[in-house]
């Protein structure tokens, strides 16, 4: 017996066990597609883990290759399928600033409404994904249905959906087992830097998966109130920049946190750019969140970060 176990790694309780390195993803029901989580398991406890994105975009354009402004916007938006409106807006803002255009309040307002619509849809998508991970079929169905409706809805229809969204939040508050499943899971060590978006805002509260759930539900309600007070959404479209040149920077609060884009524009062409996203930082938190947790709790903790593998910039 001693010979069999003498070189095996030791668990926290001193037992010698075979540790397994198990991949979760890039296609796994409980995680977003494209995210690969590699966990070292000691039984069903996680000893260490790391996450990588297999679909994230590469920062900065190819040397000497200029891209037309419109093409750049389309590429950035389609590279981020879970937050295409946010990144379209980000690109539009950076290019317009590089071209020296002044802000236009009516356009800004319509764009902001579109951004808030996307925030609501994105948070509902996260709820559906969480439901799938937790085996909570009702939540998956309800959140996915509402997400589709929000994506198709005009401003007026959005307001009609308000009671349904309030009801969803209320229902989750009354769901037995949900709190015990999420409370105390995924707490980040104090002083963890690089947080933004709902993850950062929930850190001011308990900082666990339960707090992140409620943060996102609160943001859904806040976004609805904003839309109610403002008006119809307008998909971000690039204003006429002519053959402008210059350097532009923009920051947008996407559904997952802050995204920053800086670029150099020459004669209406994007010469180079640099993109920074919240998910690029959040993915690094996975190792801290999963270590020493039971497998199910570790996956819930990773899920609560709402990582979009497309928004991880390498």
């Amino acid at each position: 017996m001693i010979e069999v176990t003498k070189d095996l790694p030791r668990s926290a309780d001193g037992l010698a066990m075979d540790w397994m390195e198990v991949p979760f993803g890039p296609v796994f029901p409980g995680l977003p597609g494209g995210l690969k989580l590699t966990l070292t398991l000691d039984g069903d406890g996680v000893t260490e883990g790391q996450a990588t994105s297999l679909v994230g975009m590469i920062n900065e354009s190819e040397e000497g290759k200029e891209i037309g402004a419109e093409t750049f916007i389309e590429r950035l938006a389609s590279a981020m399928p879970l937050a295409s409106v946010s990144y379209r807006l980000l690109a539009c803002l950076a290019i317009e600033r590089a071209a020296g255009l002044e802000n236009d309040s009516a356009t800004d307002q319509a764009r902001a409404v579109a951004l808030e619509c996307e925030r609501i849809a994105s948070h509902l998508g996260w709820l559906a994904q969480t439901g799938r991970q937790l085996g909570f079929a009702w939540l998956t169905d309800r959140a996915a249905t509402l997400q589709l409706e929000i994506r198709r809805a005009s401003g007026k229809r959005l307001l009609e959906l308000t009671p349904a969204l309030h009801a969803l939040a209320a229902r989750l508050g009354r769901t037995p087992l949900l709190k015990s499943r999420l409370k105390g899971i995924g707490i980040l060590p104090s002083g963890t830097g690089g947080l933004s978006g709902p993850v950062a805002r929930a850190a001011d509260d308990a900082g666990d998966a339960w707090a992140r759930l409620w943060q996102r539900l609160d943001e859904i309600i806040t976004s609805l109130d904003y839309i109610k007070a403002t008006g119809e959404p307008g998909l971000p479209v690039l204003r006429n920049i002519g053959r402008g040149s210059g350097t532009g920077e923009a920051t947008v609060e996407t559904p997952r946190g802050e995204a920053q884009l800086s670029l150099i524009l020459e004669h209406g062409q994007v010469k180079s750019y640099r993109l920074d996203t919240a998910c690029s930082h959040h993915i690094g938190l996975v190792a801290k969140l999963v270590e020493g947790r039971e497998l199910g709790d570790a996956l819930v903790a990773v899920g609560s970060l709402d990582l979009s593998p497309w928004e991880v910039i390498s």
Partner: protein, 298 residues
């Protein structure tokens, strides 16, 4: 003859449950779907993992099906419609259902895959949680009937069903039965969002078909046990006894199915803690209350 009738009733119930399951999942009522799905399983490639424990891998789905049918063998549909009216029927169900664990450990170990193996071992933990909550409520049921014979247990409920006589026992048994059938929110061994199917993950084709059939049969068997122990079995007005047994069994099975839709999967540690710190004391309390009632009320 009884064997054939009970088997047909079991298959019919499984079909109806599969139709309801499809309805709750897709929103469409398709009576032919279970049959088509079964045929599709037969036609699909049955992939075998690279280095399986072949005996365990092949045996597990069949064993689970046999266990579920064996459990049903001692559960009466009507006073004379039972495959084996054993003197130790209530005990036999416990013994038969203990092999659910064996089948799942084999299904977990057999494919030599991480998801399946974790799923199998998870069920061992689950058994430690629910096992006492299956046995102890049945003890109280047998106390009232003063017998382990299942037909006598149903007979003892003539006039007052056990769900009224010992409601606490019913609640505990119903929850434990869901855990035994590894239905949501107790689907820890399969947990699609955590283990990608767990013990099911490496099965395909006809083997997966047998595994799914076995799971549904197990639910029907446990629903039938709930009917026999707590819902008065075949007792009911107007309709023939077997019809009442089937109606009650299906109602319990569907409620097991629906309950899982509205709840997230329970954490294994919480399941263990609640079962041992809350469930077992309540089951003991149930035995004491039933014991007092048996002594005091004629």
């Amino acid at each position: 003859m009884n064997f054939v009738i009970v088997l047909v009733a079991l298959l019919g119930s499984v079909w109806l449950l599969a139709v309801v399951e499809g309805w709750t999942t897709t929103g469409r009522l398709r009576p032919a779907a279970p049959l088509l799905s079964g045929l599709a399983h037969l036609g699909r490639e049955s992939i075998v993992p690279r280095t399986p424990d072949r005996v365990f891998f092949e045996t597990a789905p069949v064993l689970l099906l046999i266990v579920a049918v064996l459990g049903a063998a001692v559960l009466p549909l009507a006073p004379t419609l039972v495959i084996a009216d054993l003197a130790t029927g209530a005990l036999f169900i416990n013994a038969a259902l203990a092999y659910v664990l064996v089948a799942l450990i084999m299904a977990g170990w057999g494919p030599n895959g991480a998801y399946a193996m974790i799923g199998g071992w998870r069920f061992l933990g689950q058994l430690i949680a629910y096992a006492m909550l299956i046995v102890m409520p049945i003890t109280a049921v047998a106390m009232r009937a003063e017998s382990l014979v299942t037909t006598v247990i149903v007979g003892s409920q003539d006039g007052l069903w056990n769900i009224v006589y010992q409601p606490l026992g019913f609640v505990l048994f119903f929850i434990a039965a869901m855990a035994l059938a590894f239905r949501a929110p107790f689907d820890l061994p399969t947990a699609p969002g955590e283990l990608g199917g767990g013990v099911d993950a490496e099965y395909t084709g006809v083997r997966l078909g047998v595994l799914r059939l076995a799971r549904l049969t197990l639910v029907i068997t446990l629903a039938s046990a709930t009917t026999v122990f707590y819902l008065g079995g075949w007792h009911g007005p107007l309709l023939p006894p077997w019809a009442w047994s089937l109606i009650k069994t299906l109602a319990v099975a569907v409620s097991m199915l629906l309950a899982g839709r509205y709840l997230p999967r329970i954490r294994e540690a919480d399941l263990m803690r609640w079962c041992w710190t809350l469930g077992i004391p309540l089951a003991l309390l149930n035995i004491i209350v039933v014991g007092l009632l048996v002594l005091v009320v004629p």
